[in-house]
């Protein structure tokens, strides 16, 4: 395809007309597959020079139309150019290297395209099934004859995502400055706090160092230390030292609630 033909093809009026009647590309792999099909070339033997040229022409058109060309499309463009240049290089100058062992520079791309196409086909097959609430309908409501009966609750059905999403919604309403980072560190501190409290259960004091006995990774020690500080702040433990440079002792100051009633 020459540049001038290309320009004719994508005159502004045409482009807008095309825009109306064509579907979006899901990404660079989708666009590449489209080009391979359109050109009727063998996917195992992609004419990389021609396909890259067409690919880049598409990106140009996208940019001319002020469409936001996502980064992934540009990454693929550079991959294509790299493959093209690799193919221009002589196959092997080292006679020791068996020619058959050298992988085709296109192999990785072909694998990705095939795999992608496979999932795309599967997705179309999924969409063609008899979908609930589109093609088939069920009685997913409480039948009137059940409604009259008193309800008895069983285990809740909750997903992790619902939990963290609920927390996200709450924090969105609370001023940020009142809240420090809630990251993974915080969570493992929670684990350590819970472990330490279990460990202290029924003991009056324990040696400070015993609380670090579980592991000696840096992360674990830091988390344990932060957990101890947090427990101190909450006044759930006290740190004691009877002599200068002496052993540190941890005292459990938690008064275990006898009756699990809410205050």
């Amino acid at each position: 395809m020459t540049g001038s033909v290309q320009n004719q093809l994508f005159s502004e009026a045409d482009a807008i007309a095309c825009l109306v009647r064509t579907e979006a590309f899901e990404g660079p792999l989708d666009l590449l597959l489209h080009l391979i099909k359109k050109n009727e070339v063998d996917i195992y033997n992609i004419p990389i020079a021609a396909i890259s040229r067409q690919y880049l022409e598409y990106l140009d058109v996208m940019q001319e139309l002020n469409l936001d060309v996502a980064g992934e499309f540009l990454v693929m463009a550079s991959t294509l150019i790299q493959i093209k240049s690799q193919m221009l290089l002589p196959q092997s100058i080292d006679p020791e290297v068996d020619d058959e062992k050298i992988e085709d520079p296109r192999a990785e791309l072909v694998r990705r395209l095939l795999e992608y196409e496979r999932y795309r086909e599967a997705s179309m097959e999924l969409a063609s099934r008899n979908l609930l609430d589109r093609d088939v309908f069920a009685r997913s409501f409480i039948a009137p004859e059940l409604d009259a009966l008193p309800s008895a609750e069983a285990l809740p059905e909750l997903e992790l995502f619902e939990l963290v999403d609920a927390f996200r919604r709450i924090l969105a309403k609370v001023p940020r400055e009142n809240f420090h980072e809630v990251g993974s560190e915080n969570i493992s501190i929670a684990d350590r706090i819970s472990d330490i409290l279990d460990f202290l259960q029924g003991k009056e004091t324990v040696d400070f160092e015993e609380l670090f006995a579980g592991s000696n990774t840096r992360e674990y020690i830091v988390a344990s230390f932060l957990a101890i500080l947090e427990l101190c702040r909450l006044r759930m433990i006290r740190i004691l030292q009877y002599e200068i440079y002496g052993r540190l002792l941890i005292r459990n100051t938690v008064i275990l609630a006898a009756d699990p009633a809410v205050e």
């Binding site: 045409d14 996208m62 069920a138 004859e145 927390f167 205050e263």
Partner: protein
């Protein structure tokens, strides 16, 4: 269209309807059919349910037609209700999330975050064994401190608390709105 197909169509509509459907409503939905055809279909379904002794019958309630399970099997149906899983209210979910992510946490802290009294909800989460009282803070008022339980971990199939997804991870998903997704690209008809 054959009488038996109309019968099937009427049956499928009555089957999925969550309220009784009046004859007029049914005739309205099935505008391409004669009212007589629809009437015959209803009669045929009613007769079928009785003669073939199906598990449900077509009854006329509150001016409309509705499939109902046969009353003589009410005892069996009641057992179905007994094992229905509980739905979690949004406020219970919120409270549980705060306890999970901020533990060890006091009621005061929960209420600060939620902005509303949370005593009743904490109580019900305690009853459901999803949270527990870890202890009392040694400060005036001796507020109770809450944490999650082993049952909580089992409910969510968590190995440890560190396996809880972090806020950051969810926000990363939400932030990356791939806005190019819906943009149609121009395709030349021919190369």
């Amino acid at each position: 269209m054959s009488e038996s197909v109309i019968r099937e169509i009427v049956e499928s509509i009555l089957f999925v309807a969550d309220t009784p459907l009046s004859f007029d409503r049914l005739a309205n939905i099935l505008e391409e059919f004669d009212r007589d055809e629809i009437r015959r279909a209803i009669d045929a379904i009613t007769a079928d349910c009785n003669s073939q002794r199906r598990g449900m019958e077509l009854v006329l309630v509150a001016g409309g037609y509705q499939f109902r399970s046969r009353p003589e099997y009410a005892d069996y149906i009641r057992r179905l209700k007994k094992v229905k899983p509980a739905r979690f209210s949004p406020s219970a979910l919120e409270t549980l999330a705060i306890v999970a992510y901020r533990q060890p946490v006091t009621r005061g802290e929960v209420e600060y975050l939620r902005g509303v009294d949370s005593g009743g909800i904490l109580k019900s989460l305690l009853d459901r064994k999803l949270i527990k009282i870890i202890g009392k803070k040694d400060i005036p008022g001796k507020p109770l401190i809450y944490g999650t339980t082993r049952e909580f971990m089992e409910t969510f199939n968590l190995k440890d608390l560190a396996s809880l997804p972090t806020l950051r991870e969810i926000e990363e998903l939400a932030d990356t709105d791939s806005d190019f997704e819906q943009v149609p690209l121009p395709l030349p008809e021919t190369a």
